[in-house]
C-alpha cells in the first residue's frame, strides 16, 4: 500500500510540474510566428510584405499580454494600460532622438530596458490607487490616470512635441548589427524576440507559487488574506510588472515606427488592448497574442473590402462573439476541443 501511495505522491508533484511544461502546440505557435517572417518578408515573389502589420500585431500582443497579467490572473480590471504603453513609447522615442542614432542612447535594447524601468517605477507608484474599490472604480481610476497622462503629453510641448508628436526618432541598429529596414524585417524579428522573452517570463510568473497566489486573490481575496497571503503587496508587484511590460510594448512601437505621438498614449490604446484580450480570451496568456492577430487581420481584411464601414462588421463580430462564445477565441477552441473529445469517447 505504501508503495502505491509513494508513487501517487510523486505523480502529484510531477503533474503540477507538467502544467508548467510547454506543449507541442505552443512550440507550433512560435514556429508559425517565426515562419511568417519568411512567408511575408518579401522573400517569395508574389507574396506581399506584411511584416509591418505583423510587427504592429506583436506590439499589440505584448500590450494585451500585460493586461492579461493584471486582469486574467490577478483580477484587476484596467482601462489605463495605455498610459504605460504611451509612457514607454515616449521614453524610448526621446532616448532614440536624443542619441541621434548613436550608441548608447539610441541603442534599441538599452532604450527598451530604460523604458521598461521608467514605466515600472510609474506603475509601482500608481498601483496603490487600484488596491481598493469595485471593478468600476478600478476601471475609472486607471482610465483617469491614463487621461491625465495623455493630457500631460499634449501640454508638455517642449519635451513631447505636443500634438505634433516627436520626429527624428532614430534608433540605432539592433545590437549594433541590424539596421531597421523599409520592409520591416529587422523590426519584426526584433519585436518577436522581445515578445517571446516577455512571454516566457510571464509564463514562468503565472506558473510559479507567486502566480498561484495571484489566482487565489482573483478567486477570493477574503480567504487569501485569511490564509496569510499579503494581498496588497502581491497586487502591487504584478501591477508593476505589467506596467513595465506595457512600457516595453510602447517602446517597441516607437522604435519600429520611429515616431511617438499623442495617439500612442490616447484612450483608444487602453481600450484596444482590453478589447483584444477579451476577444482572444483572458487568463490563458495566449489570449492577447491570438486576439491581437485575429483582431488586426480582421480589421485589415474588412478594411480592404469596405474602406469606410469596416467598423460595422468589426462591431458585429464582437457582438456575435460575446453572445455565442465564452472566454473569447481560446474559450471557443477549448470548448470545441472538449466537444471533440467527448465525441471520440462515444
Amino acid at each position: 500500500m505504501s508503495g502505491s501511495h509513494d508513487k501517487d505522491l510523486q505523480s502529484a508533484s510531477a503533474r503540477l510540474l507538467k502544467q508548467s511544461h510547454s506543449r507541442w502546440y505552443e512550440w507550433l505557435f512560435w514556429a508559425v510566428a517565426l515562419s511568417l517572417f519568411v512567408i511575408f518578408g518579401d522573400f517569395i515573389p508574389g507574396v506581399p510584405t506584411r511584416l509591418m502589420l505583423l510587427t504592429e500585431i506583436v506590439t499589440l500582443a505584448l500590450l494585451a499580454l500585460s493586461i492579461d497579467l493584471v486582469l486574467g490572473f490577478a483580477g484587476i480590471v484596467t482601462l489605463g494600460q495605455g498610459a504605460y504603453f504611451g509612457l514607454g513609447a515616449y521614453v524610448a522615442a526621446l532616448l532614440a532622438k536624443g542619441g541621434a542614432g548613436t550608441f548608447p542612447m539610441s541603442d534599441p535594447v538599452i532604450g527598451l530596458l530604460i523604458a521598461g524601468l521608467v514605466t515600472g517605477v510609474f506603475g509601482f507608484v500608481t498601483s496603490f490607487l487600484v488596491l481598493r474599490g469595485s471593478d468600476l472604480t478600478r476601471l475609472m481610476v486607471t482610465l483617469g490616470v491614463a487621461l491625465i497622462l495623455s493630457e500631460l503629453a499634449n501640454q508638455m510641448r517642449w519635451l513631447t512635441g505636443g500634438a505634433d508628436g516627436l520626429n527624428g526618432v532614430m534608433p540605432s541598429a539592433v545590437l549594433g548589427i541590424w539596421e531597421f529596414d523599409l520592409w520591416g524585417r529587422v523590426a519584426y524579428l526584433y519585436s518577436l524576440a522581445v515578445l517571446f522573452i516577455c512571454f516566457w517570463l510571464s509564463r514562468r510568473i503565472v506558473n510559479s507559487p507567486f502566480g498561484l497566489s495571484l489566482k487565489a486573490i482573483k478567486n477570493n481575496p477574503l480567504r487569501a488574506r485569511a490564509i496569510g497571503v499579503p494581498v496588497n503587496a502581491r497586487l502591487v508587484a504584478i501591477y508593476t510588472i505589467a506596467a513595465a511590460l506595457a512600457g516595453i510594448a510602447g517602446a517597441l512601437l516607437a522604435q519600429t515606427t520611429q515616431s511617438a505621438s499623442p495617439d500612442m498614449i490616447a484612450f483608444h490604446r487602453s481600450a484596444d488592448g482590453l478589447l483584444i484580450l477579451v476577444f482572444g480570451g483572458a487568463g490563458y496568456l495566449y489570449g492577447g497574442l491570438i486576439g491581437a492577430a485575429a483582431f488586426r487581420v480582421m480589421q485589415d481584411v474588412i478594411g480592404n473590402i469596405t474602406l469606410q464601414y469596416w467598423q460595422f462588421w468589426l462591431g458585429a463580430v464582437l457582438v456575435a462573439l460575446v453572445i455565442f462564445v465564452r472566454n473569447g477565441i481560446i474559450g471557443m477552441m477549448v470548448a470545441g476541443w472538449a466537444r471533440l473529445r467527448k465525441g471520440d469517447g462515444q
Binding site: 506581399p48 495617439d263 471533440l340
Partner: protein, 390 residues
C-alpha cells in the same frame, strides 16, 4: 485542435496575401486618408476630389494608367506609417498623398525619404511638415498663408484689438502665432490667445472669456469639418450685439458645413484660397464634375487640394514622360504653374511649398444656399517660415 489551429492560421495567411499583383503599365498613387473617426469628413472630401480629377482628365498620362489606392489611417500616426511602408513595398506606388494631421505626415516622412517616393501633402497645414523630407511636396496650403491675409484685412478695417481662439494642436498654434505676428506688425494688439482642446465639445468658457475681454474682433481657427459646433456657440454668445467682429480662416466656414450653419453666419469675413463659389471657368467645371461623381456633394478646400495634388502628379509624369524615378518626379514638380479651380497655383521651386492665391470672403446667400463669396484678392503669398533651399 491541430486542425483548428492550422485552418485558423491558413485563413490568416490567406488574408494577409489578399493583395492583387500589379500590372505593367500602371502607375499607382497611394492615398492615406482618415476615412473613419473624428477627421472622416476630411478623408471623404479628399477621396472625392481625387475621383473628380480622374473623372475630368481620364486616368491615362504619358502612356500610363493611373490608379488610386486608398487606405484608412484612422487618424493614428503609427498606422499611417505602416500603411505608407506597405503601399511602397507591396503596391509599389509611385506617389503617396493625403495625410490628415501633422503627426501623420511627420511619421510618413522617413518612409518617403528612404523609399524615394514623392509624397503630396494635401491637408496637414503646419509649415514644419515639408522640410521633414526632400520628397514632400505641398498641394494644399500652410497656416501663415491663410492667416496673413485676414490679419492684414483686420488691421486695415478699423480693428485695433483682437483675441484669438484656436484648436490646441500644431496648425492651431501656427494660426495663433502668425495672426498675432502679422496683426501686431500692422499696429494691432492681441489681448489674449485662447486654445481649446482639439476634441472639445464645449467652447463656451473660451468664448465667454473672449467676450469679456471686449476686443474689436475675435479670430477663430479650428480644423476643417469641426466648425459647426464652434459657430453654433459663437452665434449663441451674440458677439455682434457686443460690437465684436468674428473673423476666421476659411476652415471655420468650411463649404462642407456652411449651408447648415444658418443665416446667423451671414456677413462673416474669412480668408482662404478656395471657395466653391470662386468665379472662374476652371472652378465651374470642377464643381460640376465633382457634384456629378460624388452624389451632389459640395467640394471644400480639401477636395481642391486633392484635385490639385492629382494635377501635380499628372504634370510631373508628363514631364518625365512616364518615368517614375522619385527624384525626377519631385524635380519636375518644382516651379510648376497651372490654373487651378482656386486660381493661379505655383509650386515654390526652392521650398516645394504650394503658393496658392488667397482671397478675403464674406458669407452670403446665393441661389438659396450659403457661400463664401470672394470680394478681395489678397494675392499669392509664399510661406514665410522657411528660406531653406534644396
Amino acid at each position: 485542435m491541430r486542425n483548428r489551429i492550422l485552418s485558423g492560421l491558413a485563413a490568416g495567411a490567406f488574408a494577409l496575401a489578399a493583395v492583387p499583383a500589379l500590372a505593367q503599365e500602371v502607375v499607382k498613387v497611394g492615398l492615406i486618408l482618415p476615412m473613419t473617426g473624428q477627421q472622416a469628413s476630411t478623408g471623404r472630401q479628399l477621396e472625392a476630389g481625387a475621383k473628380a480629377f480622374l473623372a475630368q482628365r481620364g486616368n491615362m498620362v504619358a502612356g500610363k494608367r493611373v490608379e488610386i489606392v486608398v487606405k484608412d489611417d484612422q487618424g493614428v500616426a503609427d498606422i499611417s506609417k505602416r500603411l505608407a511602408q506597405e503601399l511602397v513595398v507591396n503596391d509599389k506606388v509611385a506617389f503617396l498623398g493625403g495625410f490628415g494631421l501633422t503627426p501623420i505626415a511627420m511619421a510618413v516622412g522617413p518612409v518617403a525619404t528612404q523609399a524615394k517616393v514623392p509624397a503630396i501633402i494635401m491637408t496637414a497645414a503646419t509649415s514644419a511638415v515639408v522640410p521633414q523630407s526632400p520628397f514632400f511636396v505641398r498641394a494644399g496650403r500652410t497656416m501663415p498663408q491663410m492667416t496673413f491675409p485676414i490679419a492684414d484685412w483686420a488691421a486695415k478695417n478699423g480693428i485695433k484689438s483682437a483675441v484669438t481662439l484656436v484648436s490646441d494642436y500644431a496648425p492651431g498654434i501656427d494660426a495663433e502665432k502668425f495672426f498675432k505676428q502679422r496683426f501686431e506688425e500692422a499696429g494691432g494688439k492681441v489681448l489674449d490667445s485662447l486654445r481649446a482642446p482639439l476634441a472639445s465639445p464645449e467652447f463656451s468658457p473660451f468664448l465667454q472669456k473672449a467676450k469679456d475681454l471686449k476686443p474689436d474682433a475675435l479670430f477663430l481657427f479650428v480644423p476643417s469639418g469641426q466648425g459647426a459646433t464652434l459657430m453654433k456657440q459663437v452665434i449663441d454668445r451674440d458677439f455682434a450685439g457686443s460690437k465684436i467682429r468674428v473673423i476666421a480662416t476659411g476652415d471655420v466656414t468650411d463649404d462642407d458645413l456652411l449651408n447648415d450653419m444658418g443665416d446667423s453666419v451671414l456677413g462673416m469675413i474669412t480668408s482662404h484660397d478656395y471657395s466653391a463659389d470662386h468665379n472662374s471657368p476652371e472652378n465651374k467645371a470642377f464643381v460640376e464634375i465633382f457634384r456629378k461623381v460624388n452624389n451632389n456633394m459640395r467640394p471644400n478646400m480639401m477636395a481642391v487640394a486633392a484635385f490639385d495634388g492629382m494635377e501635380l502628379i499628372f504634370r510631373s509624369l508628363e514631364a518625365t514622360k512616364g518615368d517614375t524615378n522619385g527624384q525626377k518626379l519631385v524635380d519636375a514638380m518644382r516651379g510648376l504653374k497651372w490654373m487651378s479651380p482656386r486660381g493661379p497655383m505655383e509650386i515654390d521651386a526652392q521650398t516645394r511649398e504650394a503658393i496658392p492665391p488667397m482671397y478675403i470672403r464674406k458669407v452670403e446667400r446665393k441661389n438659396g444656399e450659403l457661400y463664401n463669396v470672394e470680394f478681395q484678392d489678397a494675392g499669392s503669398i509664399k510661406d514665410p517660415t522657411h528660406t531653406h533651399t534644396k
